[in-house]
């Protein structure tokens, strides 16, 4: 199998939402209020690769993940799947694409229907796509998917309701549902953040195993940098709708460049005694995405911000092989070389 075979290629993706305004506001203000949740993102994901998307809430990471799967409408930009542009207005094509691209959600307590048996929940995608003819075939496929997700023996779980499963088992059942159509690409949105730490590592191992055995590509959305480091090949740091830094996961953790990444790293909780660690706790919170600051969107919280940062938006430039950063500090350096 070819490595570096591109699965998903996102180009200039933008997702914007209108803010509902009151009737009077609508009449008297000419300008529409828009939330720019994703504001121009380029992202490539290869076969058998896990790319983590890290950011605070409101950074647009979940919206980006959903937009790639057409779960929220894309305002601008395009998405290539295996080199082919997806036409989201073509229902048939979208359906075919959805076969191959699946999502795992954060909360397994909500993503499984409490009233449906595991077998029905997992088999639902098969039925929607008319992929099974006999009940036997259906059962067989569900058992296989359950066992691939670590619920073995699968027979024991078929006729259980979600409330009879533990949190970790629920998430595994949800993963089985997303595996049953043999996808090539999965968006996993904080798949372990609702689970106890002792269960968490089991799910991470499962995802890594799937990556190896099926050459699956993942977009792993998380707010936890240490998890991203642990399981992914690449890490993309997102801030207010844009990727500010992206690179190999070790590179980002050990040699990060963007002041925002560095701040995130410095406050990352590590189970160590460190009373006098040099922590860069940023003041304030992530700005409202309907009022994105002018220039570099991080300038309001950046300790290094200078005049240019308030005026000109920095571009994402390659500093080293595959290590991109969007910051004027490095632009200068880069131009100087």
């Amino acid at each position: 199998m070819k490595k570096n075979e591109n699965i998903v290629d996102v180009k200039g993706l933008k997702v914007q939402f209108d803010i509902k305004q009151s009737f009077l506001q609508e009449i008297f203000t000419k300008k529409r209020k828009i939330v720019k949740a994703v504001d121009g993102v380029d992202l490539k994901i290869n076969k058998g690769e896990i790319v983590s998307l890290v950011g605070e809430s409101g950074s647009g990471k979940t919206t980006l993940g959903k937009a790639i799967l057409d779960l929220v409408p894309v305002t601008e930009g395009e998405i290539l799947f295996k080199g082919k542009k997806i036409d989201f207005s073509n229902k048939k094509e979208v359906k075919k694409f959805r076969h191959k691209a699946q999502m795992i959600f954060q909360d397994p307590y909500q993503s499984l229907d409490p009233k449906s048996l595991v077998i029905d929940a997992v088999a639902e995608p098969l039925e929607i796509n008319n992929l099974v003819k006999t009940a036997e075939e259906r059962k067989e496929k569900v058992i296989k998917a359950l066992e691939d997700s670590g619920l073995a023996p699968g027979e024991n779980f078929l006729y259980r309701f979600p409330y009879e499963l533990s949190g970790g088992q629920r998430q595994r059942a949800a993963i089985a549902g997303s595996l049953i159509l043999n996808p090539d690409f999965i968006v996993a949105d904080e798949p372990v953040s609702m689970l106890d730490v002792s269960v968490r590592t089991g799910i991470l191992k499962l995802l890594l195993g799937l990556k190896e055995s099926r050459d699956l590509a993942f977009l792993f959305i998380t707010h936890d940098l240490s998890l991203a480091w642990l399981i992914s090949d690449k890490i993309a740091i997102m801030y207010l709708g844009k990727i500010v830094e992206i690179g190999e996961s070790d590179e980002i953790i050990k040699k990060s460049l963007h002041p925002y990444t560095q701040a995130l790293l410095s406050i990352m909780p590590i189970p160590e005694v460190h009373k006098n660690r040099n922590r860069k706790v940023l003041e304030g919170e992530i700005p409202n995405p309907s009022e994105i600051p002018k220039g570099c969107r991080f300038n309001t919280r950046c300790v290094h911000a200078f005049d240019k940062c308030k005026e000109v938006e920095p571009k994402l430039i390659e500093i080293k092989d595959g290590h991109f950063v969007a910051c004027h500090l490095f632009e200068e350096e880069y131009n100087g070389i």
């Binding site: 730490v197 590592t201 991470l204 160590e272 005694v273």
Partner: protein
């Protein structure tokens, strides 16, 4: 000096399925100006321990044994009317969903003032003045006491909740997962704030969390709970660098550490036990990779390693002897 001492606390819940032994013989102590982290998985009894201290247990929950000494006085058997006087004045609590605990149709300053007027004999005007002082203490702009909760971000609401908890100068603050719903950056801000306040006001703080990794910055001592009991108790150094209980060890290694080798930690097999019929002997033995026959038969007693560092295991430190 000792602010809080808990001796052999037992809090059980009577439900139709039986008696849930949520807290079963928990003991620890806390000094003035000290912070203690109470850690464990969901259902280990950490929140029940906290709710027992200021007696906010649901109806089914009863304290059936042990004592809770606040400045030497046993408060576990006080009448409801008496414990009411202690809440806010002596012990206050910051809840997990604190941001949603604010009344959305009432100005934040008024909500804090209301609490002050209820618990102290002061006029409303004085209470508002106090709210402004409190806002300054938690690094919010005092003018913003006239704001409504929806005008605050998550982190600001949590700060306002901390201000409210501080309203009557309590000696002890209990934070039940005070940062769980917050972003990492805001979490760091809030933990810094709690740390600063504790030192300035010489309060005792108990932080309840499932996240063992956040305690390194803020706590002096850590109590690791498992299935209603304390598995290990010690200073942050003891727990992080010199832990003796296999559960502490396993739990700790579940957190990735970017300064160490990149390996996916082994999960702890199985699930926490049912506390209606807890396992015999050591409650951790069904999940413990080092368990032997004695573990299922005999309950391990607390073994002392050094002053203030104790663990409950028949084979403490066994994981160090592997090679």
């Amino acid at each position: 000096m000792e602010l809080l001492k808990i001796n052999n606390l037992k809090t059980y819940f009577e439900i139709s399925a039986g008696t849930v032994k949520a807290v079963d013989g928990v003991s620890f102590s806390l000094n003035y100006g000290e912070s203690l982290g109470l850690v464990g998985e969901s259902g280990c009894g950490k929140t029940t321990t906290a709710l027992s201290i200021n007696r906010l247990l649901p109806q089914e929950g009863k304290i059936l044994g042990g004592e809770i000494l606040l400045e030497g006085r046993d408060i576990s058997k006080l009448k409801e009317s008496e414990i009411k006087k202690l809440r806010w004045n002596e012990i206050s609590m910051i809840f997990q969903g604190a941001m949603n605990a604010l009344n959305p149709v009432m100005k934040i300053g008024d909500q804090i003032a209301e609490a002050i007027v209820l618990h102290k004999k002061v006029s409303y005007k004085e209470a508002i003045k106090r709210s402004k002082e409190l806002f300054e203490l938690v690094e919010l702009e005092p003018e913003r006491i006239t704001n409504y909760p929806h005008e605050f971000s998550g982190g600001m609401k949590q700060r306002a909740m901390i201000a409210m908890a501080l309203a009557c100068d309590p000696k002890l603050i209990i934070g039940d997962e005070p940062t769980t719903a917050l972003d990492v950056m805001v979490q760091a801000q809030i933990l810094n704030l709690l740390d600063k306040l504790r030192k300035e006001l010489n309060m005792g703080i108990i932080i309840i969390t499932h996240d063992l990794s956040i305690l390194g910055e803020t706590c002096d001592k850590i109590a690791v709970m498992y299935a209603g009991k304390i598995a290990e108790f010690g200073t942050v150094e003891d727990i992080y660098n010199n832990n003796m209980h296999p559960y502490t060890n396993k739990l700790l290694s579940s957190f990735p550490n970017i300064h160490k080798e990149k390996i996916i930690p082994e999960p702890i097999e199985g699930v926490p036990p049912d506390l209606i019929n807890p396992p015999s002997g050591c409650r951790f033995h069904p999940r413990c990779p080092y368990a032997q026959d004695i573990c299922a038969k005999e309950e391990p007693m607390m073994t002392k390693v050094s002053e203030g560092h104790e663990y409950a295991c028949h084979f403490g430190g066994v994981f160090n002897e592997k090679e």
